[in-house]
Symmetry: D2
Amino acid sequence: MDIGFIGLGEMGVAMVQNMLKAGHTVRVWNRSPQRAEPLAAAGARVVSSPAEAFSGDAVFSMLADDAALRAVIDAQLLEHAPRGLIHVNMATISVALAEELAHAHALRGLHYVAAPVLGRPDVAAAGKLTIVAGGPAEAIDRVQPVFDVIGQKTWRIGSLPQQANVMKLAANFMLAAAVETLGEAASLVTGHGVAMQDFLDVITAGLFPGPVYQGYGKMIAERRYEPALFKARLGLKDVRLALAAADAVSTPLPVASVVRDSLIEAIAHGDGEKDFAVLGQVSARRAGR
Amino acid sequence: MDIGFIGLGEMGVAMVQNMLKAGHTVRVWNRSPQRAEPLAAAGARVVSSPAEAFSGDAVFSMLADDAALRAVIDAQLLEHAPRGLIHVNMATISVALAEELAHAHALRGLHYVAAPVLGRPDVAAAGKLTIVAGGPAEAIDRVQPVFDVIGQKTWRIGSLPQQANVMKLAANFMLAAAVETLGEAASLVTGHGVAMQDFLDVITAGLFPGPVYQGYGKMIAERRYEPALFKARLGLKDVRLALAAADAVSTPLPVASVVRDSLIEAIAHGDGEKDFAVLGQVSARRAGR
Amino acid sequence: MDIGFIGLGEMGVAMVQNMLKAGHTVRVWNRSPQRAEPLAAAGARVVSSPAEAFSGDAVFSMLADDAALRAVIDAQLLEHAPRGLIHVNMATISVALAEELAHAHALRGLHYVAAPVLGRPDVAAAGKLTIVAGGPAEAIDRVQPVFDVIGQKTWRIGSLPQQANVMKLAANFMLAAAVETLGEAASLVTGHGVAMQDFLDVITAGLFPGPVYQGYGKMIAERRYEPALFKARLGLKDVRLALAAADAVSTPLPVASVVRDSLIEAIAHGDGEKDFAVLGQVSARRAGR
Amino acid sequence: MDIGFIGLGEMGVAMVQNMLKAGHTVRVWNRSPQRAEPLAAAGARVVSSPAEAFSGDAVFSMLADDAALRAVIDAQLLEHAPRGLIHVNMATISVALAEELAHAHALRGLHYVAAPVLGRPDVAAAGKLTIVAGGPAEAIDRVQPVFDVIGQKTWRIGSLPQQANVMKLAANFMLAAAVETLGEAASLVTGHGVAMQDFLDVITAGLFPGPVYQGYGKMIAERRYEPALFKARLGLKDVRLALAAADAVSTPLPVASVVRDSLIEAIAHGDGEKDFAVLGQVSARRAGR
């Protein structure tokens, strides 16, 4: 396929590499052009404007947040895009913006697919992402071959793109809540002289298997929050988005409110670039330890 | 072994049956004696006072809560118990009472082992409980053969009995927090028209495998909270105990505070006897659904 | 003085009336022009564009929220305004927008004063508002005579306009927290058979005199939330802004998080247009009453 | 009147002094007898057992907490007390214990009046306490002359003694919530460069007059938490009791949960003996300041 790709952060680069390996033609664009160089060496065609990427069979975007997206995907860009183009937005953005973009694309005869991913850069590099796709079924059908080279599984959520964003935000909220809870439990057990690793061994053997409790639990047990797999700053961004999405449908999320406060506290102590397992540190500090 | 057993609720009965099957002699006592009848038929010796149970090689107790325990295990009972007797308390009680009991037993030359269990009655019946044991190593060594017939795994936590109780309460706190979070996530996704079961499929396939998210998630997705596997009323009891144990070591647990408030709200709406997945109902009601 | 006035809600109308009574010339503009009619009868000059209001000695604006303000006060309007014009924005807006506006005005040689007010329409009508003013001292000096006819007291906060907005939002956060607390206390005392009015009599006689506890407390005691003096919907708007202002300086506000959740719950139950004393209803409902 | 008095803390001593000044006969008892010496000099008769105090027309008690009360007021003491004796308990105790004591006294033909007070030792010394009395009207009538010399106002709440305790706990909960809110607001405004004292001036001039906001606000503005007028440790005790009283009637108090967590955090940082305005410090620390 002839694919445009906008946004070459760690995740974007890994996705493009897998697209190239699978034989797709990829026109790449990034605000800082040097990020594109290694991809050029691997066969990507580097273009000099988002508009040049916004063409072909489909264009994928993976930008940092709502602001970055608004700075690139504007009315003019959509106006000049070829009718029928499919835009697959893989970033974690607000539900409100996803809704707005779906509408703006439809008005101009473009297809908008929201396809946020679960998984970190190492998972992206291995082509093992979990993709949560929302939007018109025919559009998703057409890009499914591309999804198959960057992810191991695509979940189709519904015909409204923003529903995929809701799903992603809810998943990240659950992740954040689990890490906050682990941090609090660590403070409780260590306060009574029990080693956090012993506690982890017990709960991950039965109630809570899986990568979240084991991975973040270990970081908390060892009080080692670097290198960051998922930064506290980004965790806070997603919790804010989950709260906003919930607010939009008049739904209180009291646990998310607690996690938000804890993440703000982490940022206030200069820990925004650390892994968001640093929530364990927030809890320990509150207990004076 | 010659074993006494005090407290014949569902869990106690299942444990005694496994002890009998393994060939142990068991003297059983319960406040309501009719609970002992089926066990008598299976070979247990029914005694008419706690004191008669409080003898032999070891005595196990599985009473409902702190109050029930205090009503049975008093100074007089300990005074008349044979020196060197091992008392294994398998109930989920407060850390403060565990500490007090450890001290009271030691004063009278008795051994006190705290061995709270993870697992519900069906797990107990299958002899597959997870046992978290705290107390003097030699005492635990001596009762280990009994643990092996009622549980599939014994975790030894430390020499202070109350540390096993802390572990159990921390595990139940994590459970309660996971269920509360599931309930909130359900309100978020369904508020945007996404089916909870679809969301569950995504998260249990990757981030959150295991019985907790699948089991409680399903109840929440189906809004079906009966029959109760773990009652909201008992969940609240354990969260209160976790908060008290944390308070005793000056540790705030903000997520536990949120869960406590939600469980109280469930009780206030008459749902105390339902499964504590009814936290999903609490969240839905707050969102006006 | 020759004054422009933009935004003729209840508050704006009351302010303009007092300006007219004091002999000022007022050019008024509102999106729905019929709101201007009664003022025309009282001597105001009705203009047909914001730009016509944006001239003279000073222009005052009192628009509903950030979105309404952004829709009216745009780059073009500022570009064409006469240099040296003072813009006094009396609305409760976000700290971020206040900062942005201060910057945008300064760039074009205009003076920006933030002067949010404490007080409801009846207080505005009586010319008894409390004005919290932030911005350049000389600009405030020049509009002080106008402040003196719409308010009984002007507090000068600092030279940064947004500091006045912070102050207003913090005051409204305190108000919301007091009402939430009253609601919870009402549930506690009535749950034990004590009349809320008896409780109110005790606390307002000593600890908590003043209009907030008496006024909102009475509404809660009588479970009567209409007519609304301050709507729950607007209370939520302000709590959201307070949380955002706090987030911007990495400050958790856990009580504000709780109040936000409660107000969302009120909205979810269709009570957004009721007085925000309806927080008492939220608390009562949670307790099953 | 012939009065017994049990518990000679700061509050108790001040009350007894006022009783003596008014001409009453007072038999005093305290666990540490040296606390009684200055009162003996002022005319009190020092007795050597609680039982000797538990006689005459009425006995007043002012003990620190539930545990201290249980240690002194036991079944034997009540058994030997003269029938018809009125016991006025002025301490802030749990609602559950108040209910239990009311029952235990009634069984033995004794009258139990709960009369917790609002006011600190300096207010007690001036005879200006606010008394919140619950219990049988005739019993309160008989001790009213004594109330009149230790307090400036007696509020009669109802015929159930524990209702007076609920009232007191609800009042202290409101106090704690106001101080927590002040602390959070201080972090918000100072985070934006606004002086807390300026903010206080604005809110106490209008919305929030009265001693609570002015007094605690000033301590927070000056970040000066000693000498303590009301210790954080005691504030936490009362918030715990309010939460327990609410739990007993299935009422969630989310703001109280937040305040409890903050007070625990203060204790964890060694600030339990400081004034509970130290909640301002907790909030500042969370914001990294």
